[in-house]
């Protein structure tokens, strides 16, 4: 048997850059906690993007300088942030009116699993005894117009995160529009998962061999 060499594909920063490139000028965007937060660092020159954080700030800016952190100015990940000139604060019911009322254009989230029909699982592995915690993930996928997922293509043990059907508890049904992995950018369409772009050194056949769900060119 020929031993398969694992191709790394894009680095996380390159994935974040790909996402940032697909966010149009003037968009209102919510970035999930963790890797999605990196997208804000790669907005192309000349575009203005307004960031929403569901704990109650529209117009979130960069991290503050060391020593300038304000415990009452944080993001959804409970990290210190800043507010841009023109930012606004609001309470939670207003914040989720922006989300559920389809006022936010794009949300970028991480994933445990994405299914070929766009189902997303990203809040729980359903392990018995685990403390369930959901936060705003279910509201975001139910309400935001476009959901992008940014994730490594496979788990640390090599399992495909892009699956025929999610085995983990769902966050939402049929909600994902596009997947940015380290190996490819994949659109979720009515006709299945269509590969838009392959990372350097990745062939379609290699990508399919690393993916449980059926892919289309």
């Amino acid at each position: 048997m020929v031993e398969k060499v694992e191709i790394q594909g894009w680095e996380i920063d390159e994935m974040a850059k790909k996402v940032a490139f697909d966010i149009p000028d003037g968009a209102y965007v919510n970035l999930g906690i963790g890797i999605p937060e990196k997208v804000a660092g790669f907005v192309p020159e000349g575009r203005e993007v307004i960031y929403h954080t569901e704990n109650g700030l529209l117009g979130m800016g960069d991290s503050p300088e060391k020593g300038q952190e304000d415990p009452e100015l944080i993001n959804a990940g409970k990290k210190a942030v800043t507010a841009i000139p023109g930012a606004s604060y609001f309470h939670h019911a207003d914040s989720f009116t922006m989300i559920r009322g389809k006022h936010i254009d794009i949300c970028v989230l991480g994933a445990l699993q994405v299914a070929e029909n766009g189902d997303l699982a990203n809040w729980s592995t359903g392990e018995p005894g685990a403390i369930p915690a959901v936060g705003g993930a279910m509201d975001l996928v139910a309400g935001v117009k476009t959901i992008y997922v940014i994730t490594r293509h496979n788990t640390k043990t090599g399992k495909s995160k892009i699956v025929k059907e999610c085995s983990y508890p769902l966050t939402g049904k049929g909600v994902v529009s596009r997947i940015y992995s380290n190996l490819a950018i994949i659109d979720v369409t009515k006709n299945g998962l269509v590969v838009r772009e392959l990372a350097a050194g990745v062939s379609f056949d290699y990508l399919q061999s690393r993916t449980e769900a059926r892919l289309y060119q």
Partner: protein, 237 residues
């Protein structure tokens, strides 16, 4: 004359009874009314149902209230955070109940409670394990679940400034659940850093009109929860 100012922390939490439902504002430490929670620990009410987004950090504030076994049930969206061990430990031992509610649904259930709306339909949680047991309806070909309003006997809220009418303004993202919780409790108790004369708060900028507030306590220099947690402090001191 209307004057909602109370003079002591003891007075602020007087009348809170065993079995009460209490909404506690805050998203993590931002907006958490720690001094009021500590006053409640001293006051002694137990078998409480607490509505709050998280379950507190370390062994101060909400986490301390839970550690003292005063809480029988938490209604929240995210019961674990980096420094949260008290709730997870009790939950694993089945010594505390949890109603897990998506964050936006939690906010809207509280808003509805304050607005006299008994229930509403939302797309959030449809097709997920959290839809279980909820009535479903289809509107314009989209499926929604019915969510019921939450009301409380008391609300604890932290704001920046108040006047004697109970008009409030908040500080940055510490606002979070405060304004909706103020509307949904029979007795809303607010701790503020500044107490000002009527008229000093611009009527155009008041976030919570005083009608939603019953008691105001001045806490000029509230403690910083993350510092206390970093120092491994525990309440009572």
């Amino acid at each position: 004359m209307i004057n909602k100012l109370v003079n002591t922390t003891k007075e602020a939490v007087s009348g809170i009874f065993d079995g009460a439902t209490i909404m506690i504002g805050g998203f993590g430490e931002a907006g958490s009314p720690i001094e009021l929670i500590h006053a409640l620990i001293d006051q002694g009410a137990k078998n409480l149902t607490i509505v709050s987004n998280n379950t507190g950090s370390g062994e101060v504030g909400l986490a301390a209230l839970i550690a003292h076994k005063r809480v029988k049930k938490m209604i929240c969206s995210f019961p674990r955070t980096a420094n949260s061990t008290v709730f997870p430990d009790l939950y694993k031992k089945s010594e505390i109940a949890l109603e897990l509610v998506p964050q936006g649904t939690l906010a809207e259930r509280i808003r509805a409670g304050g607005a006299g709306i008994p229930a509403f339909f939302t797309p959030t949680s449809v097709g997920t394990p959290l839809e279980e047991g909820k009535e479903k309806r289809i509107f314009d070909r989209v499926t929604y679940v019915m969510e019921k309003a939450i009301k409380a006997d008391f609300a604890f809220v932290k704001a920046k400034a108040a006047d004697r009418y109970g008009n409030l303004i908040y500080n940055k993202t510490a606002r979070n659940f405060g304004p909706v919780m103020c509307t949904a409790a029979k007795t809303t108790i607010v701790q503020v850093q500044q107490f000002v004369e009527p008229g000093e708060l611009d009527p155009e900028c008041i976030v919570t009109p005083g009608i939603f507030v019953e008691r105001v306590l001045i806490v000029k220099n509230p403690v910083d929860e993350s510092k206390l947690v970093a120092e491994n402090r525990r309440y009572p001191w």
